[in-house]
């Protein structure tokens, strides 16, 4: 075939007749490629799990005792139809913020809290409304609550932030979510450990330092990674608290 017989495309001239069919085919192919790619990639995303803000429940107002683990939790004493007395709630503020500063003055005291429930399985969190509406001192007797020691455990799972895990973000865990989780934890959202196996009936537990202080800085590097660690486990109402031993943290390959 002579070179002269081959079609030669020049952008500012009409498309050579010999190329029209080919280019029409390529055009349809490109459009179909994008259509199929969008459909397949879009419709094969993982289920982010059953968690989320329960705006459908409306704003919930309950009374209880503030405990600092050091992350604030509420041991509910006077609940409502949804949140029964005896329930333990983790507390957070709107956005990527905890309520440490607001809760600390009320440690061991009775408070009324109001906000939106975040729910995932057995663990609940309340995102408090701003100011006095969200958290204020309450009148009444302040009951004593037990902390039940459950001994030393070795667990496998991942560290993430309690708010995203509870559905503030879907998905709200894993390595792709690591930076977001770290930002939440830096801003005092309670950290949680997601165990690969249920422990004492729960897959999730609040995680702290071994001395009951804040999550150790070294743990931030392992957020979202599959790890094993040991620590002292305790039960506070219906929530578990794991005091992790940083020395025992190990990354699990694969």
């Amino acid at each position: 075939m002579s070179q002269n017989d081959k079609p030669f495309f020049v952008g500012y001239f009409p498309i050579p007749g010999q190329l029209k069919g080919f280019l029409a085919l390529i055009s349809v192919g490109v459009v179909l490629l994008f259509l199929l790619a969008g459909l397949v990639i879009g419709s094969t995303q993982d289920d982010p799990g059953q968690s989320g803000f329960r705006f459908d429940y409306g704003r919930q107002t309950v009374t209880g005792v503030v405990e600092l683990t050091p992350y604030p939790i509420l041991r509910v004493t006077e609940g409502n139809d949804l949140i029964k007395p005896g329930k333990t709630l983790m507390l957070a503020a709107a956005g990527k913020s905890g309520v440490d500063a607001r809760a600390a003055p009320h440690e061991g005291g009775l408070v009324q809290v109001s906000g939106i429930v975040l729910q995932r399985g057995t663990i609940d969190m309340l995102q408090l409304a701003g100011g006095q509406r969200g958290l204020s001192a309450a009148e009444g007797d302040t009951p004593e609550f037990d902390t039940e020691p459950l001994g030393r455990w070795k667990l496998a799972g991942e560290i993430c932030d309690g708010k995203c895990l509870n559905g503030a973000m879907r998905p709200g865990r894993g390595l792709a979510h690591k930076a977001c989780a770290a930002l939440c934890l830096i801003n005092e959202v309670p950290p949680v450990f997601v165990s690969s196996q249920p422990v004492e009936g729960s897959d999730f537990m609040l995680i702290t330092g071994l001395d009951g202080g804040r999550l150790p800085d070294m743990a931030y590097d392992f957020i979202g990674q599959f790890i094993t660690l040991e620590g002292e486990l305790e039960r506070r109402g219906d929530i578990l608290v794991l005091r992790m031993d940083p020395e025992t943290l190990e990354v699990i390959d694969g």
């Binding site: 030669f8 020049v10 500012y12 994008f34 969008g38 990639i41 956005g95």
Partner: protein, 356 residues
């Protein structure tokens, strides 16, 4: 070709090109954003912001994959050359899609805290010393900044300002952007996927880009332009009967430059093979209306002096030719761009060919 800079010199083919690509991208986003949630039917759906970010991120990856496949495809089969013609527009479109992806990510994952969201992007994850959990966002930032740089400098003004070789080198950063994008996806979303369909599509796309480039390079090695052997400053190009009227033979000169020897109606002329516009292969072009026409973007040159016809001002170097028996030889030393060289008549050229 242009004598003054305009934002876009539209023509029918550019409208068609952009239209087809835009339809493809819009369809991708439409099915991802509005059809796939119905198919997924999650009881607690993926956050709309995350879903949007994924849609635009995945679209940017597919777009960049398609863009990088066009070059080798055009080298393997010249019928794909029209896809090269307006590729820059598709690149700019990709940049806008990538910016949208980044916008959703930053406004979701890095917002809502007491820190500036752009600062949070940099400090939230600093695990740079480990592979798992590596701050994959930095790869995305690099890719996005590179795409932005390339989009901003994509206009011919910048090519003229920077000179084509520098511009070409700068725009070859698109490969770094793609490699960085592959790392961004590999260290990010793929780490968490339980459904591996996306992984297969992603690896398939990246392998397609790598495979097509490797195959095109292999074809170039096998069938590409051959180097000539220098003797006293001249190299043999081919036999006099080897060049079809209106076309050229290309030879690689000792210094690595390429020369294109054209047969225009039985007379031989030699010019640089590199178009002054984007270094396109002039020797793979064709003489149309007495002018060598570049196969990439249609820039044209008078083959005897390497000058674009007035009022255009582009110029390429010319080369001296001579015949040695039935061999065509070219002097390895180029003449300054725009230098007229008397064409060398082919000995067996028929008079009517010469007349034509």
């Amino acid at each position: 070709m242009s004598v003054k800079y305009t934002p876009v010199q539209w023509n029918r083919n550019k409208w068609l090109y952009d239209g087809v690509m835009l339809i493809g991208v819009v369809l991708f986003l439409y099915v991802f954003l509005f059809v796939s949630p119905e198919i997924l039917s999650h009881e607690f759906p993926i956050n709309p912001q995350v879903h949007n970010a994924r849609a635009f991120g995945a679209a940017a990856f597919v777009m960049l994959t398609v863009i990088l496949c066009i070059g080798p495809l055009a080298r393997i089969d010249r019928r794909f050359l029209p896809l090269l013609y307006n590729r820059r527009h598709f690149g700019v479109m990709t940049t806008f899609v990538a910016i949208t992806h980044a916008g959703f990510i930053i406004d979701w994952y890095f917002a809502f805290s007491s820190s500036n969201k752009f600062e949070a992007l940099l400090f939230a994850n600093t695990s740079y010393t480990q592979l798992a959990g590596f701050p994959f966002e930095v790869f995305g930032v690099f890719s996005l900044l590179t795409l932005l740089l390339l989009a901003v400098t994509s206009h011919d003004f910048w090519m003229k300002f920077l000179t084509p070789p520098v511009w070409k080198r700068l725009h070859s950063f698109i490969y770094l952007a793609y490699i960085s994008l592959v790392a961004h996806v590999s260290f990010g979303i793929l780490q968490d996927q339980q459904n591996h369909t996306v992984t297969v599509i992603f690896i398939g796309g990246a392998l397609c880009v790598a495979g097509l480039h490797a195959y095109a390079a292999w074809l170039d090695l096998r069938k590409g332009d051959k180097p000539g052997t220098e003797k006293d400053g001249w190299i043999e190009v081919c036999k006099t009967s080897d060049i079809e009227n209106g076309f050229a033979k290309i030879r690689v000169l000792p210094g690595g430059d390429r020369v294109a020897v054209f047969n225009q109606d039985g007379k031989l002329s030699a010019i640089s093979n590199a178009c002054a516009h984007q270094n396109g292969p002039l020797g793979e072009g064709k003489i149309i209306d007495c002018l060598v026409t570049c196969p990439w973007h249609g820039f044209q040159y008078n083959v005897t002096n390497g000058r674009s016809p007035a009022p255009f001002t582009e110029m390429v170097p010319t080369y001296n030719l001579r015949l040695s028996g039935d061999s065509i030889e070219v002097q390895t030393q180029a003449n300054p761009p725009g230098t007229y060289v008397e064409p060398v008549p082919l000995p067996d050229a028929k008079p009517q060919e010469v007349m034509a």
